[in-house]
Symmetry: D2
Subunit: 291 residues, 4 copies
């Protein structure tokens, strides 16, 4: 199989390598010329035999919109574009429609795996029509952890990114659960060696998981997490999960709380809590902390 | 009516004044001798005609336990002790039983009103037997806002403090609701004059309230709340409300969130969010903020 | 002043009456011909002297879009359209732009007051340019509770609906706070007369409010709320508040919990809790409840 | 090694078997005579060589209190009692003190593993002094999954149960995260085969875990969870986790939400939401659902 791959960053670079190891001919392009196999998108498309498969692995939003718009002008009917980035599922329909006008197929693919994917494989959640997916299948098979695992056709266009988005929402909730438990163990002062406790949970418990393995490794390296600040970004997919929950009237208290905790972690001072302090001051003459 | 009043701080001092204005003879005692009408608890008890009523208005926990233990040794059968402080409702049964051994009655009374009570009156939530409450009624009538309002016999011993505790739990949730709305208005940048919006809500809206009046006053005084830090203590009753909810299996998401927001407001750095940062660092090579 | 009013339902009908009492000439139109003063939108516009003011008071979304599109074809440069419905603030910019193309002004106005507005007046949160608002001011003054209260120019186009939306988000949180407190009082069995407790809170407490007055009235009428089901719709504005919080990274735990509680109240059975039951069954052999 | 084991139910029975397979002589006792190796606690104690180790595996609360009180009368100085049940950590200090008066040691041990423990081993979180633990170590080594995993001395008396309690709190949060994600996938109608998506997540994803394996198995067996009701009990440890968080001022929004979701799942009708419906009815004339 031949495939074009646009975006050779942390994720894309490793995916190129994993596909090559599986015998796929990958033609890579990136804004950073030093990473490229070709000098332009046009050259990339020309380097591929028809029907072509081009995998887009660039940031969601404008970079993905623009890349797909360019490919629309370069590719031919019968070709397929895969969006493997973290696009919002609502973008997929638009991209599919734009490409379909020129007979080009579209597949959305949510990819999980992070920096471990090169070695362990990537979990792939795919949306699109069966015939478009079929063209890409050798690439999916190269990327997934094993022939029996880590791949699902979740549904039609958009279903892949939607499934990946929900995956990330669940991830937020799981991480927050470990984090809240960690804070309680730290604060309660009854447990003498918190890192050892987390390490001991890695086998035989109900809460064993890959995330727990990672967290235990982090604690082994920095037992008090003294080198970190309690600051967490959010990547967009947590927000979209909550927006989808609102749309579908799904009570999502735990995942919402996990997202809000990240928001709060990035505030130097909380306007809401200033408001609380102001009210307490008014009605109770409570001591307040002033600037 | 004669009444003994122990604890002449911010609340007790104003309550003495309001009772005196209503023609009640109040004998006050406080740790601070400069506030006292008598020099000892013994002198206070002796200054009252039987059957005596002594109102305890000291901090909950040990100060209240110790004061009631002393009164138990000084008072006589037929007298009544009122605990008007912020005791946990579970303390009331114990105090009532201790006093009952010597024939002394006990009434628990949750008091709301803060620094505005002298002028506007206090809302009183009372627990105990009808005959004990009857002895105290003239004091309750002096303290309440009007003969028709601000007083309820909530039930037997403990019911007064329980009702007051729930009142405070509701207060946490209402304050948090205004606070979250405030933060959104501040952040969204669409509303040009947030203090004016809050002020306009004071009449004709569904959310008008006394708390809103106070908050509007605070914003009129300090439009950006620039003089305050987003730091809020909690007084114990919010925690007890949540503990009671746990005991009775009541889903209490909004009030719990309000309490947790106060906890978080007092953290310089969040151990939980350090844990999130550690996990993100492990699986994604995400940029993290280090100390 | 003359004003056209489109939508004469529960809200619009009362607003027409309140404006007429204040001496304003109101020309009303509704889909229900029996409520109308004129037979068509065209007739309504013709009945007004220039510069015309037409107040749209129809459901948000398509009914408002369509009404404004029609007015765009009927009105003239210098006229002003007011959207007094519950439109999403993001619709306002679009409507303003569409009307501006023909020189017609636009003002968005969030209206609070419900069925009590005729008697007590309406709180108005207004967005738009000062000169457009000036044309409508006599109507605003007729509707607001008093010359000093219940009106604010929150900012430019959209700010009125945004402020009203946040008002409703706060309302969700306040209602949920009372509701959680109510459930705890009911379940704990310590408080003997829950309706009396709520009634006693109406004066002198920190949590007194108009909503509390309403709730006390409801409890006076139906002390166990035995005639109601625990089912609550949501009107859209709670969802939009949460969406705006997500957009602006505002931690909004209490209001989110209030919205989710409504979602959950409408479920006969919870898919999420079926999932919990399924997991518990797998790992612990816990007894589960089957259909 | 010889050990006495009291409580031979679902957990205890399997633990006896696993210890026996490791060559430990286990003397078992249960209320159910058909499961017993001896006819009384006295006979159990007599059957063990000194210094004796007796493992208590009965329900927390009174059954554990009473069993330990009986053992206190039967055992000798130098013996050790292990509480392997789900006791609240605050009970441990009391039990340790009672036993210490007679020179008997105490070790608390939180046990995770459920019905899978016989085969996969149990994760053990242990609290107590090093010399008491040393006496029990062969039993711990027999029960744990492997010589390198599933065992930790968390700290002094109480630390074992505290760590296990936090484990369970985390478990609540993780389960709720999967459950909320499941409900969103089900409701959104974009993903065509939800069970396959969960199954695909078992390898290569950030959220892979043992709980996910179990949930995927449950979905394989009953793809719509049609045979279950959305009803979930809670075992006590979730509540205790939240109580400990309150005590230590730990913001615990996600785990609290998970506990509250279980509370709500057991309500036929929600008093809180009846209160919401009552308020909505009062202020807006909103349609409400009546009984």
């Amino acid at each position: 199989m031949h495939i074009g791959l646009i975006g050779l960053g942390k994720m894309g670079g490793n995916m190129r390598e994993r596909m090559r190891r599986a015998g796929i001919t990958v033609v890579g392009f990136d804004r950073d010329a030093s990473l490229c196999d070709v000098t332009s998108l046009g050259a990339l498309v020309e380097a591929l035999p028809a029907p072509r498969v081009v995998w887009v692995m660039v940031p969601s939003g404008d970079p993905t919109h623009e890349t797909i718009a360019q490919l629309r002008g370069l590719m031919d009917a019968g070709d397929v574009v895969v969006d493997g980035g973290n696009s919002r599922w609502t973008d997929d329909k638009r991209h599919a429609d734009e490409l379909a006008e020129r007979g080009i197929g579209f597949v959305d693919c949510g990819v999980s795996g992070g920096v471990w994917g090169l070695q362990e494989g990537y979990a792939l959640m795919v949306g699109g029509s069966a015939d478009h997916i079929e063209l890409v299948q050798p690439a999916f098979d190269a990327l997934r952890p094993s022939p029996e695992s880590g791949f699902v056709r979740a549904g039609g266009v958009g279903a892949g990114h939607f499934a990946k988005m929900v995956h990330n929402g669940i991830e937020y909730g799981m991480m927050q659960s470990y984090a809240e438990g960690y804070e309680l163990l730290e604060k309660a002062d009854l447990v003498e060696n918190v890192p050892e406790v987390f390490d001991s949970w890695r086998e035989g418990t109900v809460i064993r998981s890959w995330l727990l393995d990672l967290f235990a490794a982090a604690l082994a390296d920095d037992p008090d997490l003294a080198r970190l600040r309690g600051y967490a970004d959010d990547s967009g997919e947590g927000r979209w999960t909550l927006e989808a929950a609102i749309e579908h009237a799904v009570p999502m208290n735990a995942i919402a709380a996990s997202l809000f905790a990240r928001f709060a972690s990035r505030q130097d001072d909380s306007p809401a809590m200033k408001a609380i302090a102001a009210m307490r001051n008014q009605f109770g003459g409570h001591a307040v902390h002033t600037q």
